[in-house]
């Protein structure tokens, strides 16, 4: 299907485990983003990527690792999950950077760390 997809949609994991959230887009957009959404904090940028093999930190990168070997995929890894990383994670993509290019969002992954 065309668009931007995320998997899994729901995940429960234990403290200390490694977990990877997947993001896939079919538009060949250059830019991809990972956000987390928490009550009282709104959406916060974790990492973004301008192209394959180019990534940069956002507002809250600590505890997360990203990679982008292919344009269409942008996985987010929590190397050792903590309870504070319980959140809803959104992936987004945009054709290019610049104020005229909106970001398109995936449906989100709800992650619970116990």
């Amino acid at each position: 299907d065309a668009g931007i997809t995320q998997s899994p949609r729901y995940k429960i994991t234990e403290t200390g485990r490694q977990v990877t959230l997947m993001c896939h887009q079919t538009w060949s957009h250059s830019y991809m983003f990972w956000y987390r959404q928490d009550l009282g904090h709104g959406l916060r940028l974790i990492y973004y990527s301008a192209a394959a093999d180019i990534t940069d930190k956002g507002e809250v990168p600590d505890g997360y690792v990203v990679s982008r070997s292919k344009t269409e995929n942008f996985p987010l890894t929590l190397e050792s999950a903590t309870r504070s990383q319980t959140s809803v994670y959104f992936c987004a993509s945009s054709l290019l950077a610049g104020a005229t290019y909106e970001q398109y969002f995936g449906p989100g992954t709800r992650l619970t760390v116990t």
Partner: protein, 112 residues
Amino acid sequence: SQELEQSPQSLIVQEGKNLTINCTSSKTLYGLYWYKQKYGEGLIFLMMLQKGGEEKSHEKITAKLDEKKQQSSLHITASQPSHAGIYLCGADHAGNNRKLIWGLGTSLAVNP
């Protein structure tokens, strides 16, 4: 984020009524984005404003960016139950759309 304030936090209106949501930035806006989020789902792009004084409309939703480019309003005319959801504004303070700052959202309920 204190850089971007949204008001009101929540709103309950009767179907058919008009309403306005505000988004105020502490910095000059290079771009201001409005999105709608249905509960448990992703964000849907509504409109993007760049120029001071700019106004855009889509169906019954109108968004404006003030002349000083530090405040935007989203106005819904003759609200319908389908308008219910969370409205989020996102601000581009750098002119590159890479590190957007987001408001906390306005939760809208429309009673039939």
